[in-house]
Amino acid sequence: MKVKSFFRRLKLVNHRHYIALGLIAVSVLFAVFKYELSYIRLFQSLMDLVDSVVFYFCKTFLGAEDITASVVELPKVDLSGVVSFDIEIFAEKFNYYWEYFFNWKNFSNYFMYVFTNISLFLSLCSILIPIFMLIVSLIKRVYLSPGDEEDKHKDTENLEYFKRVIEPKIIKAFQWCKSFVEFMLSHRKYIKLLILIWIMNLNMATILVGVVAFYFYFISSFNFASIPPVFIKLALDLFIMFAGASIFLWLTLAYIIVTRILKKRAYRILQHNEMKNRGLINAQPLVTLSCGTMGSKKTSSAVDMTLSTSVMFKDKALEFMIAHDMKFPNFPWLRFEEDLKECYEKHIARQDLIAKGLDSVIPVEETIYNLASSKYWVVSKAEAWEKEPTKENLWGYDFERYSMTYNDDLVVYHLFDVLIEYAQLYLIYVIEYSFIFGNLSVREDMYSDGGFLPMWNTDFFHRTPQESALTTRFAKIFDYDMFRLGKKMIENNVNSGAFEFGVVILTEIGKERKNNLENRENKKKSEETNQNNDLFNTTLKMIRHRATVCYYPFVRIITDEQRPESWGADARDLCSVMELGESSDLIVLYRGLFFDGFVHDIIYPKFQNFYLEMRNLRGDNTLLVYLFKNVLALLENRYDKLKNRFGFYQLPVTIRDGDLNGECKKAIYYISRKKTYSGRFATDSHADFFIRMAFKSGIGLFDFVEYQDVRQTEDEMKLQNSYFYLDMSKWSKI
């Protein structure tokens, strides 16, 4: 019974465990039967390490003189499994190496050796290339023949068989491999064990131990004469290592290492470009206007700047918080932060109750919802402490032992002055809502790790779209009344006056605010709200007053328009105008190694031509095209992903003062595809309005009237509803 229940329990175990254990067992068998030499060398290397450590202690602490270490001696091993000569000859060869290397006869022998092998390869090619060309021309002849109407939509017999019999097996095998990889990744102990065994099997462990052994020997002896023999030893171990596996394994390993290095380099450059962008943004005044023709990436650059600024505000807030923390190093900041968080939660609860029409039982003084309420809350705490100066009223801070003031040699700050600013900074830093306000929607995806002092992940380049979607937050709707100090669109608008800090992105600002010429008709004393009586510009001029914490304005207004003159000079003079030049072509920092680019640049266009012609001629589905198309689609998708992750545009910008006079500065703005185009904004953000209009019209291209000839008739001109035509008809009456 016990045996039966044992086997029943075994059956319940995921079978992948057995496969992983099988792989480990096979690796161990390899170690015993194939890689014996590696383990002999590993043992010798470990002995060398022990010897070197003893040498190090004797030399350094006991001052021994006449001792030596085994690490500089040649090992005693049988090399018959690796090379055809023994270890002494192996070492001796190095004495003659350079003599042979620069010997012309040796070189010509090598050349002949290579040439003989190449000629074999070339003769093989001379047979294979015509066969390949013949196959290609046959395929073209067979496939590019006009198909029959009755075959339309039908799969050929071969394709049908493939789809029915072979494809399910391939898919099943692929899914199994995928699930096995996922299993191994979630059971890392198997991977670690396998890697460890193969590091030892392939003699890599010997080399690592040897390096450490030599380190201990060298730092205590400084014997430079020991370097050549150690190099011979290293060469021997490398021989054993490379002889241990097929060249394909080493090429695969080299591929993995090289691609990792190149990807890391690409990420570093993207990050560097981001930092250069931030430098450029910081050098601008609080209001910027991006100008350029349609399609010149002006909204892209505005959104990019908005995203960077939002991240910069978080970083800046944290920087100031740490500085404040250091002013009172013994203050229990975490307790203070917990109280602040409680006040945010109370505000949310209070708003919920009000929304439900219930009288809130939470007094507004106990809630925090913006910078002003943060300040008043701390002030109320200061008053309470002054009335009753106890530790409990000061979050447990021992004010009798530690200082209540901080002197920076400019001003003496009281603890509560610093607490007011800290509370405001904490709100900016910790709040999980986007503080981007826009007349278009922008998607942010930074997220905090939820630690005691949360850390924000503000990385734009590494995350997958699926990960990014999990932390999506959209910009807040920008209510223009928030900026209107004068007349407002809605009287008693709750939002007016509520704006304090954040990044404001206003696209097509000129169409909203208009210029002086267009606003001439709008009267200041008008009953209706207009651009002349809403005092929007006054807010712009004084915007930093409401957003300043620690002398730093946590506000930036980023706008775009096609022509700078479209926005009235009164407001535009506050800006720096960034005129966008012609964007570069897409620069891809990492497009895979040779193969990926070759498929995209050479094979894909050729297939596309063939495929289009075939689609034109035939309506049936064939196996060859099915296979080729699916494989190519996979490879092309891979290339597409690399292009989107590592691609960026260089945008030349000319920066001028808002009055459009003065010196022009040239700079480059970098737009990363991964950062700016991963569902961040819609280039047609105002499309909804036009879609509704077009839908309501009820007509389309089918219904528009065509010209009857190249010369238009007067009736046709009339259909244009043109001013020009009206003028012409007036003139014809004269």
Partner: protein, 33 residues
């Protein structure tokens, strides 16, 4: 988009590198003692 000749040139460079690296190894085995 890169042209086919740039790929041919890339292959040529890799083969050239392999040729010279191969010489290092060949020399070692060619030494007669």
């Amino acid at each position: 988009m890169k042209k086919i000749w740039s790929y041919v040139f890339e292959i040529f460079l890799v083969l050239l590198l392999a040729f010279f690296l191969g010489y290092f190894l060949y020399t070692f085995f060619a030494i007669e003692i």
